[in-house]
Amino acid sequence: MGEKIATRDAYGEALAQLGRSNPDIVVLDADLSGSTKTAVFAREFPQRFFNMGIAEANMMGTAAGLAAAGKIPFASTFAVFATGRAFDQVRNSICYPQLNVKIAATHAGLTVGEDGASHQSVEDIALMRALPNMTVLVPADGVEARLAVRAAAEHVGPVYLRLGRPKVPVIFGDDYSFEIGRAVRLREGSDVTLAACGYMVGPALAAAKLLAGEGIEARVLNMSTLKPLDGDALLAAARETGALVTAEEHSIIGGLGSAVAEFLGQEYPVPVLRVGIGDTFGESGPPEELLEKYGLTAGDILAAAKKAMGMK
């Protein structure tokens, strides 16, 4: 693997860049700007950066007020606090009035690592996906994260942007184009589809490679927009490959796997197996070891793919 960039680092850079071209961009943080990387923006645009202290509910409400007055606020903290601690504010002050607030939440999923379960959000996608008017983006690498930040700013309405803590391999080249609501086919294949988002796109590609070694051609879809879901891409995958495996660093309840199963269950039922975190909280440990323990590896995706093919 070549270069590695954390999606949160890409966010910090993209945000500062955005700040240079758009004076309406304002940024709020809840005493985690060094970790969420909003500090990059804060250094360059101190007047447009608001540290709200350790008060996430108030941060979301303030962001709503800034948006009501025409600003484009990016509010950042860890995913577990952005979606859990401030859920009612996101619901009632942001989504219900359709205010133009971007929630850029970092440290999502198990790869938070050593801080443990209190800081590992396994349910944030489920919470945000259930909210009317919310757009949910889960970029897979630094390149996509940068583009997603830009797309989020251009989109009018609430956006949840899910970002990670660890450095992840760069998957996409400079020519990669990102569009909200569009899944990207990263690999062609007609035997099975691996639909992944965020951190798990890398392992899905690795699994496809392993499957190819066994003569199985897997299509790989990068489902970086969880909502609105790219129904056309999923329908094509169901019709042309007949079985899907989803892969996400999130609970199998309410995340990508649920979204895909909900959609195909109604539109074109085929086997859909979900690789993700079971109905459980995480724990402390090195990210790689946690992913192994909780069943989020290329090997887990490979096994699920074979099983799904057997269910056709």
Binding site: G53, G61, A64, G65, A68, A69, D88, R91, S93, P97
Partner: protein, 274 residues
């Protein structure tokens, strides 16, 4: 401050009309919150008819003053004031809480012209008002932001997060009213949750605090003027009010927090407000 007699008379008349709208609206809706609507009728009247720079013909005018009703359940008073001000026809008031109405059971900024923030889940309006005030400062606009909080509402922890932030950012373009009517759903404030002493609490959070009679137009307008002159900190106007004010059988009665009057009660209330 002495209000000119004609202003006082004009505001008294408006407040009476708005109180009548509240009663009529709730009776037609068959549900809603009269007590806390009536308790802030004079404050809201003073704001819409003697303080706020707003343009009913252009509700999104960028330089307008903003009013956030944080205690969203008291929206009948807001709807009454907005209709009286000309944001939408008075006729529309009878659609309150009905299906397909622009007048929702709690304020919806996307549906109702003149409503600045969707509220209803208590404790959130002050944070939104802070955001509007911060944006006004960033853009160097002269508009001011007003917000009304309930005395039960301040049980919510988020109110104090927002109180801290408003002072931290020196939001002197923000003026808050606390509707201190002494009653919340389950009983007297203080029995439900000890919130006193409110003056000391807001002062300790860094606010300029005034205490007034929330039914005296002279005191309301004088407090607003003092808030405008106060630099470097937001102002909290603790308004001593009577829940249900203006309707004898609703006054200071906790049972009138959230129910509509029946036909006979409506007739009596309207007779008292004639």
């Amino acid at each position: 401050m002495l209000v000119r007699a004609e202003t006082e008379a004009r505001l008294q008349e408006k407040a009476k009309n708005i109180r009548r709208h509240i009663i009529t609206m709730l009776a037609q809706a068959g549900s809603g919150h009269p007590g806390g609507s009536l308790s802030i009728a004079d404050i809201v009247t003073a704001l819409y008819f003697a303080v706020l720079k707003v343009d009913p013909a252009n509700p999104q005018w960028e330089e307008r003053d903003r009013f956030v009703l944080s205690k969203g359940h008291a929206c009948p008073v807001l709807y009454g004031a907005l209709a009286e001000a000309g944001f939408f026809p008075l006729e529309e008031l009878k659609t309150l809480r009905k299906i397909n109405s622009r007048l929702q059971g709690h304020p919806d900024m996307r549906k109702t012209p003149g409503v600045e923030m969707s509220t209803g889940s208590l404790g959130q309006g002050l944070a939104a008002a802070n955001g509007m005030a911060l944006a006004g400062k960033l853009d160097q606009r002269d508009y001011r932001v007003y917000v009304v909080l309930g005395d039960g509402e301040v049980n919510e922890g988020m109110v104090w997060e927002a109180a801290m932030a408003a002072a931290h950012y020196g939001l002197d373009n923000l003026t808050a009213f606390l509707d201190y009517n002494g009653l919340q759903i389950d009983g007297p404030v203080g029995e439900v949750m000890a919130t006193a002493p409110l003056e000391e609490k807001w002062a300790a959070f860094g606010w300029h605090v005034l205490t007034i009679d929330g039914h005296d137009f002279g005191e309301i307008l004088a407090a607003v003027e003092e808030a405008k002159k106060t630099k470097g900190q937001p102002t909290m106007i603790i308004a001593k009010t009577v829940k249900g004010r203006g309707v004898s059988f609703m006054e200071n009665e906790v049972g009138w927090h959230g129910k509509a009057p029946d036909e006979k009660q409506t007739a009596q209330a309207l007779a008292e407000l004639a």
